[in-house]
């Protein structure tokens, strides 16, 4: 009997154990469910939030451009996310000079709390900015960093730059009667949009491409495209707030496809008057204050290449002989550096041109044409050709178009 008994026992246990194990396993359903629900929420919520473009009355491209031009938003505060991908390795100075030269973001160079040192950082990567404005006299732009912030505050006559990371302050004054519009650094979608719409002529197609939701507001989408081939600019899409006519998002996609080269958009925006204390600034105790009297006239001509940083004076000299070739989107800027024999050592690399010389040569491609031989430096947006006899051709055009322009310019 004993064997039978033990047999019964084992079968009973065998029957019992899987059940117990199943019951134990069933408990793990709880954490797995929690994880599943979380994953589903993360996946679905943005999809639901994004669904459905707003219904807005039809509008023509011309009306929309007029709306942007008429837009007179003086008070706003918001958060701007800016992503730039020029397709360059992080080269600091070189990228900055290319970007400032190409986009007309000329800034002046200087100390750590200096506006230019910080705002040119925007030329690569993703950054979050906070902007606030109350009339033409009071604006503030803050660049959010890890546990620190760089703020540029314009309040009446004063322009303050405050770098909380190093506790340094930069102070300049502006002529109160001056054109204050210029004071706002090119950080908001509006600045980019205005720059883009300046170039609208018969070489450009402008269409309204539906609607979109940007920063919780209904907006029209304006698409600007070059008609000619040969430009590296694929399309520029501008989301325009349907009420205020204020551009909320600016996206520049290259003709080569891929991610946007420049993507600037509000993630939050409010058209209420920001608190007055936002624009008040007194340098904190112990902060190092750098006074700069040159800021005002540097600012007045903001955007013109003559105001290139001091370290780039050589470039500025070169730019005096600036000529434009071609028309519309395929315009190529050319100037003579006066340096024979290939790469000039005073290339706009923030002063370190000599050291970077060989390095730069390895970055470019050798090209030949009727103009002779030269080196082409490519980014996803701007291409530059430096010829053997020291001529430089720069434009938002493809390599072939650049060579063609150089041939024609010969």
């Amino acid at each position: 009997m004993a064997p039978y008994e033990s047999d019964d026992m084992t079968t009973a246990r065998e029957a019992d154990e899987p059940r117990a194990r199943r019951r134990r396993a069933a408990r793990y359903v709880v954490p797995v469910t929690v994880m599943g629900v979380a994953a589903a929420t993360i996946g679905l919520v943005p999809a639901i939030a994004d669904s459905g473009d707003p219904d807005l009355p039809e509008i023509t491209a011309a009306q929309l451009i007029e709306k942007i031009a008429k837009s007179d938003v003086e008070r706003l505060s918001g958060t701007v996310k800016i992503t730039t991908d020029l397709g360059l390795p992080d080269l600091g100075g070189l990228e900055n000079s290319l970007a400032s030269g190409a986009m007309g973001q000329g800034e002046d160079g200087g100390s750590s709390a200096d506006p230019s040192a910080k705002l040119t950082e925007l030329a690569s990567g993703t950054h979050t900015l906070r902007v606030a404005a109350d009339g033409p006299d009071r604006q503030k732009v803050s660049l959010l960093e890890n546990a620190a912030e760089y703020s540029l505050i314009h309040n009446g006559k004063d322009v303050w730059g405050y770098d909380s990371g190093s506790n340094e302050v930069y102070h300049g004054t502006v002529d109160a009667s001056g054109e204050d519009r210029e004071q706002q650094p090119p950080a908001t979608p509006k600045d980019f949009a205005e720059e883009a719409l300046k170039s609208v002529d018969d070489t450009t197609s402008v269409t309204v491409d539906g609607t979109a939701q940007v920063a919780g507001r209904d907006a029209y989408k304006l698409v600007v495209k070059p008609r000619q081939s040969g430009s590296t600019v694929g399309a520029i899409s501008i989301a325009v707030d349907h009420k205020t006519g204020m551009p909320l998002k600016f996206t520049l996609t290259p003709s080569s496809g891929g991610a946007a080269v420049v993507d600037v958009g509000f993630t939050k925006v409010s058209f209420d008057r920001p608190a007055a204390s936002t624009f008040d600034f007194t340098p904190p105790k112990g902060a190092e204050v750098t006074e700069d009297g040159e800021l005002d006239h540097g600012r007045e001509h903001s955007g013109k290449p003559e105001n290139a940083p001091k370290s780039e004076e050589d470039l500025a000299k070169g730019l005096d002989g600036l000529k434009m070739l071609g028309e519309g989107w395929n315009t190529v800027a050319t100037f003579d550096t006066g340096t024979e024999g290939g790469l000039p050592t005073d290339l706009p690399t923030g002063g370190a041109g000599g050291d970077l010389d060989g390095f730069l040569g390895s970055l470019g491609d050798q090209v030949e044409g009727e103009f002779g031989t030269g080196t082409v430096f490519s980014t996803r947006l701007v291409n530059a050709l430096i010829t053997e006899d020291g001529k430089v051709y720069v434009g938002t055009v493809t390599k072939d178009a650049l060579v063609k322009a150089a041939d024609a310019g010969k």
């Binding site: 954490p31 958060t79 750590s112 620190a148």
Partner: protein, 290 residues
């Protein structure tokens, strides 16, 4: 079963009693007191170092601005900033390590010492015991953070001037508002540690060795911090419990930038839910042999 339920209904305050005795046991341990002592020493060290360095009038961490923990350059102007610097300095490692030690020890330590089955003899139920353990660990999170904050505040007040402070956005706030923000920051830091606490508790239910549980938790903490530094793995970063830890600094912006703060709180809640329930699943189904 019915008997146990009856007992539970009769003694609703039992959990509180259990919680109180757990708290006492935890905070009476020499190891806990030593951890808190180390945490209290960090702000004192930072304060003295900054004081000595700036004794000749130069500002700390100035110039490059990249070196040292956040806010360090502002300490000399306002002692309150020592609170933020101390929290920024301890949050990446000291604080979570202390939590890892306490959380890892919570269940595995009892099992190791052979006291776990005696705890379970009491009619509290395993779920309730686990909840009590978790509540104790979370209390330790709060106490540890407050120890750092208070020690930093006292050191800051003794070594540096206090007064109105400049937020990192450049606006001014009064000292009392600064204090309120410091308290809020301490709370946010404490909440930031909930994820590690839940993870440590789960690991603690997996093994009967207290040392193994502590080592695993601290090891995981270091691994996660390293992974968070590798740019190629950026797709994973938003899901690492330590990724948004330093977002507490956003409370010093004016207006406060909530995006990363809410992400941090949500992430900690998610970790607490996932690893808390996993710990429950493991602990309630586990054979207690020690």
């Amino acid at each position: 079963m019915s008997q146990a339920e009856a007992v539970r209904r009769v003694n609703p305050l039992w959990t509180l009693g259990l919680f109180r005795s757990e708290l006492l046991t935890t905070f009476r341990r020499w190891r806990t007191l030593a951890l808190l002592g180390v945490l209290a020493a960090v702000p004192v060290l930072v304060g003295i170092a900054v004081r000595i360095e700036t004794g000749n009038g130069s500002s700390a961490g100035g110039g490059g601005g990249g070196g040292g923990p956040a806010f360090i350059s502002q300490i000399t102007n306002n002692g309150l900033f020592l609170v933020f610097t101390a929290l920024a300095a301890t949050l990446p490692f000291f604080l979570p390590m202390a939590i890892g030690v306490v959380a890892g020890d919570a269940v595995a330590g009892e099992a190791n010492a052979g006291t776990l089955r005696y705890l379970l003899v009491a009619p509290a139920g395993r779920s309730r015991l686990l909840l009590t353990k978790y509540a104790t660990v979370m209390t330790f999170c709060l106490v540890a953070t407050l120890v750092v904050a208070v020690s930093a505040l006292v050191t800051g007040a003794l070594l540096f001037p206090l007064g109105d402070l400049t937020t990192i956005s450049g606006t001014r706030i009064s000292f009392s508002e600064g204090l309120a923000r410091a308290l809020l920051i301490a709370l946010v830091v404490a909440v930031s540690l909930i994820g590690v606490a839940a993870l440590g508790l789960f690991v603690s239910t997996l093994t009967n060795s207290g040392i193994a549980a502590m080592a695993t938790t601290v090891g995981l903490l270091i691994t996660v911090q390293i992974v968070d530094q590798i740019p190629q793995l950026h797709a994973l970063h938003p899901y690492l419990f330590s990724h948004y830890w330093l977002s507490f600094a956003d409370l010093m912006r004016e207006p406060v930038y909530w995006d990363d703060l809410t992400k941090n709180l949500g992430l900690q809640a998610l970790y607490a839910a996932v690893f808390g329930s996993a710990a429950w699943a493991r602990f309630t189904a586990k054979d207690i042999t020690a």
